[in-house]
Each structure stands twice: as C-alpha cells, then as structure tokens.
C-alpha cells in the first residue's frame, strides 16, 4: 500500500463480465467489470485503487496509472530482449 492509502492492482485479464486483478504480491482479486471505471477495465492497465475503511478497496474510485504501465512495459521489454539473446535459433534438440 502506498502512503496515500492506495494500492496498485493490474488488470491481468477479462473473463466475460469479470475483471481479474493481480496485486504486486501476486494475489488475485475478481471484480465485476461494472464496478470499475470504464478506463480501468482493459487488460494490462495499472490501477491505483484507494483503500477505504476496514482495508476495503474502493473499486469505483480506481484510476489508471499510464506512467507506471509504461515503466513496467519498458522494464519487461528490456528483460525479454536480454533473454532473446540466449536463443540459439532454428530447430533445437534438448
């Protein structure tokens, strides 16, 4: 949880009307898509969700964090590029 009592969740995927969110500890939460603002329902979106009384996430007040999404994608892309250098190419026998 951040200092302003919000928490980061990421939209891992959509399963019909359900949005599956993953927090940074790897825990999964399922919420109805309708309970999130429309801009917060797309796969890959990084959300900052205010935490209310009794530690309940206030889904309707979630906001997307495009800068954090960009940072994460850039980091992942760089790591993938590094991994791809370990590809011998072509068919492989293991």
């Amino acid at each position: 949880m951040t200092k302003d009592s919000s928490k980061i969740f990421v939209v891992d995927r959509r399963e019909g009307k359900i949005v599956v969110l993953v927090d940074d500890d790897g825990n999964t939460t399922e919420v109805e898509a309708a309970s999130l603002p429309p801009r917060c329902r797309r796969e890959g979106t990084v959300l900052r969700v205010p935490i209310g009384a009794r530690s309940v996430p206030l889904w309707s007040k979630a906001v997307s964090d495009p800068a954090e999404k960009k940072r994460r994608l850039a980091d992942a892309t760089a790591r993938l590029a590094k991994l791809k250098r370990k590809d011998p190419g072509g068919d492989v026998t293991l």
């Binding site: 995927r13 999404k69 492989v92 293991l94």
Partner: protein
C-alpha cells in the same frame, strides 16, 4: 495416490495394434505421459517422454503448487518450460518452478505483461544458469523420441489469449495439441496459416470457454480425447455448454479436472493411449 484406468471402446479397438509394436521390440513401457495437473482454475501440464525428457506447459495460478508437485516426485530438471501466455492463471507458479528445479529451456509468447507475476517470472528466467530462451517461432524441438512443433502466435494485437503459444506434440502416430487460452481469432488464424492435422488429444483452449473453440477447429483436429482444465465453482462458466456440445458432437470424449482431478494420458508410439484418473480427485 491410486489411479483408475479408463479404456474407451475406441482405445480398446486400437490397442490390438499396440501388440504389433511390442512384437517389433518396443516395450509397452515406452509411453509418452501427458498429465493435466489439477491446479484449480488455471492450467498446467507435465509431459514426460519415454527417455525421461520433461516438458512443463504452464504452471497454474498458485505460487507453490506445481513446484511442490515436482519436488515431491523427485523431479530436478524440466527440459522445456512453456508459458503459453502471460496470464496469472498460467504463470503464477513459474517463479517457484525456476527455484525448485533446473529449467534447460524456456519459451513464451514474447509479449510482455504489466503484472508483478510476469515480472517475477521473467526475472527468474534471467537468473536461471545456462537457460536457453526459445522464441515461439515456427520451429521444431526434439526431446528424445517426441517432437514439439510450435504454432507461432499471430501477433495481430497485444491480447495475451489470442497470442497464446500453440504446441503440436508428436510421438510416433500419437499427437496432441496445446494452445493455451487461444480464442476464435487465433484458432482461425492457425487454420489458415498452419497445417493443422487431426490429433488424438486436444487440450481445450481457454478452459473450455465458448470463445475457445470453433466448429472448424473441431473438424480439423477431430480428437478422440479433450482435456479441460478448469476450477470447480469457477465464476467464469468454464467450461461452457457450447464448447462441450461442439467437442462431443465431433466425437471426442471429455475429461475435466474440475470433476476428475488430475488426468494422465499414456500414449504409445502406434497412436493408442489409455487414460488414468486419480482417485484423489482434488476438484480444486
């Protein structure tokens, strides 16, 4: 754990042919084992060739379950681990697998995700000593007497499901198709772009969701056996009655982890197989 062996009438009929294989010097023990693990609402399959080479396709949602299974069975090496795509119900257990065993080669769809689960997976792959990364291009991977032909994702958009890695696993006359959570768009792409053969086994795409099958896909693959990994009491309606009906109408027998727990298929080189159900039905 005890097991119940299922022999379908079709398999019994085909099993006659397997005696011929034995007579040519191939023992009945020479089987390709395909285990659809019971990981709840997620996906994980462990495939072992007759030579003991191991392929792990996805690692379920739970951070420690699949690593625990590998450790409890004394498995110290996975020759090829494939992340079909980067959703947490498929890669949640991968960081722990990297820690628990030696992973010789790793393949994913090459499309990054923004979850911490994905970041931990890719970081664990980076740290794995001697790891070969294999991009999901149209390549063939040989593991003992089995081969894996990769069906590359179409990369028409950034969707994880529709960029799942497809794998055609072949062992003699037996073949199996694993296509992650591919949806209609990707299945239709493969039917146009790849030679998709009829196979003995299909792992139902997207946990048997309505959007994970088409009539053309059923017709082309024409499997005898469909495995559906799904969690009991999942909120997504997996598997869908529509998908079940399509596969059944196509002549396939359906086996579901939500009802049967872990499912093991033992395939022989002549294309025959037996299905083994654990009597310890997790129904997770």
């Amino acid at each position: 754990m005890t097991w119940l062996v299922i022999l379908s009438s079709l398999v019994i009929a085909q099993a006659t042919g397997s005696q011929g294989a034995a007579a040519t010097g191939r023992g009945q023990d020479e089987v390709l084992s395909i285990r659809q693990l019971d990981v709840g609402q997620g996906d994980a399959a462990l495939i072992t060739t007759p030579e003991g080479r191991r392929i792990l396709i996805d690692a379920g949602p739970n951070a420690h379950q699949v690593a625990g299974i590998l450790r409890s069975e004394g498995i110290d090496t996975v020759d090829l681990m494939v992340a079909s795509h980067a959703h947490a119900d498929h890669i949640g257990g991968m960081p722990a697998v990297f820690l628990a065993v030696t992973v010789r080669a790793y393949m994913d769809n090459g499309i990054p995700h923004t979850t911490a689960t994905y970041a931990r997976t890719i970081a664990a792959a980076e740290r794995e000593p001697g790891l070969q990364y294999l991009a999901a291009t149209g390549r063939t991977i040989t593991l003992g007497s089995a081969t894996v032909r990769v069906l590359p994702p179409p990369r028409v958009d950034g969707s994880q499901n529709n960029n799942s890695v497809g794998l055609l696993i072949e062992y003699g006359d037996f073949s199996a198709l694993y296509t992650g959570d591919s949806e209609r768009r990707e299945l239709t792409h493969w039917l146009r772009a790849e030679p998709i053969p009829s196979v003995e086994l299909v792992k139902a795409a997207h946990h048997g969701a309505r959007n994970g099958v088409t009539a053309n896909w059923v017709e082309a693959t024409a499997p005898q056996l469909v495995l559906i990994p799904a969690g009991s009491r999942n909120r997504y309606g997996h598997p869908s009655p529509f998908a079940l009906q399509l596969w059944t109408a196509g002549g396939a027998r359906i086996y579901r982890t939500d009802q049967m727990g872990e499912i093991e298929v033992k395939a022989r080189r002549d294309g025959t197989f037996t299905v083994h159900l654990s009597t310890d039905r997790g129904g997770r």
